[in-house]
């Protein structure tokens, strides 16, 4: 009896050994596996390395900002015109969280209350130098913006769908976007792409008072972007991206006029605009200094013959292991749109015209300082933020030589306070 049991056990063991041999035989040799793994590390033949995941904590941000433009210098403004410019109170709210193992979403709401005068048209001044005629100060206008975005996280990438609405007294826009990213090379390389569209309807105010003002106009913008980012070291990353945008429909400014041979005429721009921007961003962390540097450069060009350069630099300094101080600087320079002039002595052959300072040649520098202090209350992580930014523009700040400065160029101060909560 015992011998039978023993032989049964022996049979079982022998069967198990055969099974093991077959299993080992099916598995490739260590050398083959090493080479296969090397191949798997190449992009395309993705390794099983999983991608990022939905936020593990919910995060809520609120910022209040006060934007105040400098008054126009008296020598730049037409006699009797309003000199005080725009002031805006801005409230921003953001909430983001993960809602399942693979899904996250965020919502952004902005509300602005604006008042003040804006540039209306430019006339030749006493000695030919252009002077700005301002609109009358508006009582108060409001803008509300809402954006909702959802992310789905795959093993090696992410897809994002977003939709938003923007509404003002005279303006309503709907926008949407779809984007995705894919990670390669042990998550050292990321490729991303996306498309977006926006449909805007403008119904300008005071059309009774200003009969040449359009009553209702539509505008459409479509954009596509491609981006590639690469980890260059354990504390260094770079990204380069290209974005193309097509604008069609009413692209002029209904509230601005252009002086043509002594008469203020409506702002007339082409109903098509092709724009392209190329942005490169660099991030590096200095371990010993406990600081990170951000360096961005953007090149922009469009078929209105305008091009621009933007340089941004920010230094994120951690102090006493908790406090964050961020000084920053920005330099911007743009050329003019083809159909721009401060004022026109004769109409253009193509019928286009604009004196908008935003299409004029100029340069600008900005500097900012931001401070962030984290603290813990009710066992939740909070952070307080305060920031100040100063922006100054001028024709003499442009990279190229500018003959005539648009008198409506803007400079402003921006104060921000905010609170962030993580839970």
């Amino acid at each position: 009896m015992r011998r039978k049991c023993a032989s049964r056990a022996a049979l079982r063991r022998a069967r198990e050994r055969r099974r093991q041999r077959r299993r080992l035989a099916r598995r490739p040799s260590a050398m083959v596996r090493a080479l296969t793994a090397a191949a798997l590390a190449l992009p395309g033949l993705a390794s099983p390395a999983a991608a990022d995941s939905p936020p593990t904590q919910a995060r809520s941000d609120y910022h209040y900002s006060r934007y105040a433009e400098d008054a126009v210098e008296s020598k730049k403004v037409a006699a009797g015109s309003e000199r005080d410019r725009y002031e805006i109170d801005i409230h921003q709210f953001r909430f983001e969280t993960g809602i399942s193992d693979r899904v996250g979403f965020n919502i952004d709401i902005t509300h602005e209350a604006m008042s003040g005068a804006t540039p209306w048209y430019v006339t030749p001044g006493p000695n030919g130098t252009p002077v700005q005629v301002m609109t009358q100060a508006t009582i108060e206008e409001a803008r509300t913006d809402a954006l909702l975005a959802g992310d789905y996280y795959f093993d090696r990438g992410k897809a994002t769908l977003s939709g938003g609405v923007s509404s003002e007294n005279d303006y309503l826009a709907f926008n949407g976007g779809l984007g995705g990213e894919r990670q390669f090379n042990d998550k050292n390389t990321t490729l991303s792409a996306g498309i977006g569209a926006s449909f805007d309807r403008i119904t300008p105010e005071d059309t009774n008072k200003y009969p040449t003002r359009p009553h209702r106009e539509n505008k459409q913008t479509y954009d596509v972007y491609l981006a590639a980012s690469q980890v260059l070291g354990s504390a260094t990353i770079v990204q380069t991206s290209v974005k193309y945008q097509l604008g069609t429909g009413y692209l002029s400014d209904p509230y601005k006029l252009a002086y043509v041979a002594g008469t203020p005429e409506t702002d007339e721009r082409p109903d098509l605009r092709n724009q392209i921007s190329w942005l490169t961003r660099f991030r590096h962390h200095f371990r010993s200094a406990k600081a990170s540097v951000h360096l961005d450069y953007m090149l922009y060009a469009d078929d209105w013959k305008m091009y621009s350069h933007t340089f941004e630099l920010a230094w994120y300094q951690t102090l006493f292991d908790r406090f964050l101080l961020v000084p920053s600087a920005r330099y911007y320079s743009q050329s003019q749109a083809e159909f721009y002039a401060p004022y026109f002595t004769a109409p253009r052959g193509d019928g286009y015209r604009s004196s908008d300072y935003r299409l004029s040649p100029y340069g600008a520098y900005a500097f900012g300082i931001k401070a962030e202090l984290p603290f813990e209350v009710w066992s939740l992580n909070w952070a307080l933020t305060a920031a100040y930014d100063r922006y100054v523009s001028g024709a003499d700040l442009a990279l190229q030589k500018v003959d005539v400065e648009n008198p409506g160029l803007v400079s402003y101060n921006l104060f921000t306070v905010g609170v962030t909560g993580r839970f």
Binding site: A34, A38, A41, S47, T56, Q57, D101
Partner: protein, 169 residues
């Protein structure tokens, strides 16, 4: 189809990429390499001491969100089994172990964590994502590789551990 020179260049490029690649990730059926590393709380943590028990080996770091989420879940899972049957051990990969100690002081767990700031242990295990965990049976063979951590991963893990604990060989 491709000229010989092109093939040679491709081979060279592939080889250089291969040389830069980490050790192949341990798979189901591989023997888990023994390791010994200093514990975050002092002493030494060594995989060999757990031979004969089912072990869940978790590689984590304080800066990794999903890793932090996994810690309490793993501690909970550990308490569901007898200590003689199932153990959880972790290898912390923070460059500065003090950050890991600070992290654990706020969210303590009842299982030991080794400290490996140079990353020699994850290299040997071929860790290719954060977090990565290995479910090792009583004889030291890897039976499941857990990449990443999501809430939905706990139930299947529990089932696998129950099966391995029942296998007393």
């Amino acid at each position: 189809m491709f000229p010989a020179r092109f093939r040679a260049i491709s081979a060279a490029a592939l080889l250089s990429a291969a040389l830069a690649a980490p050790a192949p990730a341990l798979e189901k059926g591989d023997r888990a390499p023994d390791f010994s590393a200093p514990g975050l709380a002092g002493g030494t943590v060594s995989l060999a001491t757990y031979r004969g028990k089912v072990v869940f080996l978790d590689f984590w770091a304080s800066w990794c969100g999903p890793c932090a989420k996994a810690l309490p879940a793993l501690d909970q899972l550990r308490k569901e089994f007898k200590p003689g049957d199932f153990q959880v051990i972790a290898v912390n990969l923070d460059r500065d172990p003090k950050l890991a100690v600070k992290f654990l002081s706020k969210r303590p767990v009842g299982y030991p964590s080794a400290s490996d700031p140079n990353g020699t242990v994850p290299q040997r295990f071929g860790v290719d994502s954060m977090p990565t965990s290995f479910l090792i049976d009583r004889s030291g063979v890897v039976r499941h590789v857990q990449r990443g951590f999501r809430d939905g991963d706990v139930a299947p893990l529990r089932e696998k551990i129950q099966k391995l604990v029942a296998d007393k060989r």
